[in-house]
């Protein structure tokens, strides 16, 4: 159990975890606000599927940031762009909230990387 937590912490620290989480959250919120039955979304064209596409993209970018941190920079920028597009395309970006989470999360993912080593004892929490 303890090892599992240690492994999770290590996993969390070696990738843009919180940024990705915000992206996933924002995407999920957009999907929830626009949730159409899948069949309707598919047959209804762009507008009824935009929530799935935009929100889905944000979720996908978030997951990519988690499982392929190598692409973090690219995915971060794409996440911010998708969040912006969601404002126009998907219910004002899930009534703003989704877009906001997407921008913050995307920026965090994009900027994630090596930080200058601080002195011992003043370890900041890894975001």
């Amino acid at each position: 159990m303890r090892r599992a937590w240690a492994v999770f912490t290590a996993w969390r620290r070696t990738r843009p975890f919180w940024g990705g989480a915000l992206l996933v959250l924002g995407g999920g919120w957009i999907v929830r606000l626009m949730s159409y039955p899948l069949l309707v979304a598919v047959s209804g064209g762009w507008n009824s599927s935009a929530g799935y596409i935009m929100g889905g993209a944000l979720i996908l970018f978030g997951l990519t940031a988690w499982f392929a941190p190598l692409y973090g920079q690219l995915v971060g920028i794409l996440g911010v762009l998708a969040a912006l597009a969601a404002f126009v395309g998907a219910n004002l970006g899930g009534l703003f909230l989704g877009t906001l989470l997407g921008i913050v999360g995307g920026s965090m993912v994009w900027s994630w990387g090596e930080k200058p080593v601080r002195l011992k004892g003043s370890r900041a929490r890894v975001a």
Binding site: P16, W18, I103
Partner: protein, 254 residues
């Protein structure tokens, strides 16, 4: 594709092959986990300061887009099927409207609704109120207003008309004054409904309404879904979040 390895494993029994696979995978996972643990201890990674300019840029872009939408330069998409909205407008001028009885799938099961479709609709004022039950905060009302103030009188100031294409509403009640309606069929088989040249089909044999011109003033609907297959311009857009349940009176911002 993986020619040699698959050919070699073909000589083993299935069970041996599986156990061999799992050993290989477990070893790989363990070595990776060790790598990861080692990496997590060496050096410090995290969100760097450069997130801020990026965030700032993004937020500025949204703010700019909000401005554009509010000046009705930019049209947006607004669709939902799961949230109960109360929608008010001083007047909706619809072209090619159709409606039928439908069941709407929502997160709380299916609901019976009247599905409305407009090929093109211009609205004098728009006010949508939705209630969200949020944990800790309780009931909050999100009020989205656009165009002229929704106060029951059509003033139609320049540049404040909301234009929507392919607008759909799923409502369980609709009230208003039908002051100009033309070419209306009541009772058309719902699966043959058309909004102009586009099919808007309901269930075969069901009740359908179809009209070429449908102008309704003082519209008040209780809707479960708003759909758009085109775009909606929202001049003078305002989004307000107010505590408690809000009603028509709150459409006019104080």
């Amino acid at each position: 594709m993986t020619g040699t390895s698959s050919r070699a494993s073909r000589r083993l029994s299935p069970r041996e092959r599986v156990s061999r696979r799992t050993t290989v995978l477990r070893d790989r996972l363990e070595s990776r986990t060790d790598d990861m643990l080692a990496r997590s201890r060496s050096g410090r990674r995290g969100t760097r300061v450069r997130a801020l300019p990026m965030m700032g840029t993004g937020l500025a872009a949204v703010a700019a887009m909000f401005m554009l939408v509010s000046q009705s330069v930019l049209a947006v998409n607004f669709t939902t099927s799961d949230t109960a909205y109360r929608i008010y407008t001083d007047r909706v001028s619809g072209h090619y409207a159709a409606s039928y009885i439908n069941e709407q799938t929502t997160s709380s099961g299916k609901k019976a609704v009247v599905q409305f479709g407009f090929k093109a609709a211009s609205l004098n004022g728009f006010c949508a109120i939705t209630q969200q039950n949020l944990p800790a905060l309780g009931t909050v009302s999100v009020i989205i207003t656009a165009g002229e103030p929704v106060d029951g009188t059509t003033t139609a100031p320049a540049g404040q008309t909301i234009e929507a294409n392919w607008l759909y509403l799923a409502s369980d009640s609709l009230k208003g004054n039908g002051d100009q309606i033309a070419k209306m069929n009541l009772g058309q088989s719902a699966d043959t409904l058309m909004t102009d040249t586009t099919a808007f089909p309901g269930t075969p044999g069901g009740f359908g309404l179809q009209a070429e011109v449908m102008n309704i003033s003082k519209l008040d609907t209780a809707s479960y879904g708003i759909g758009l297959d085109g775009q909606i311009s929202l001049p003078n857009l305002k989004i307000r979040v107010l505590p408690g349940s809000r009603t028509y009176a709150d459409c006019v911002s104080s």
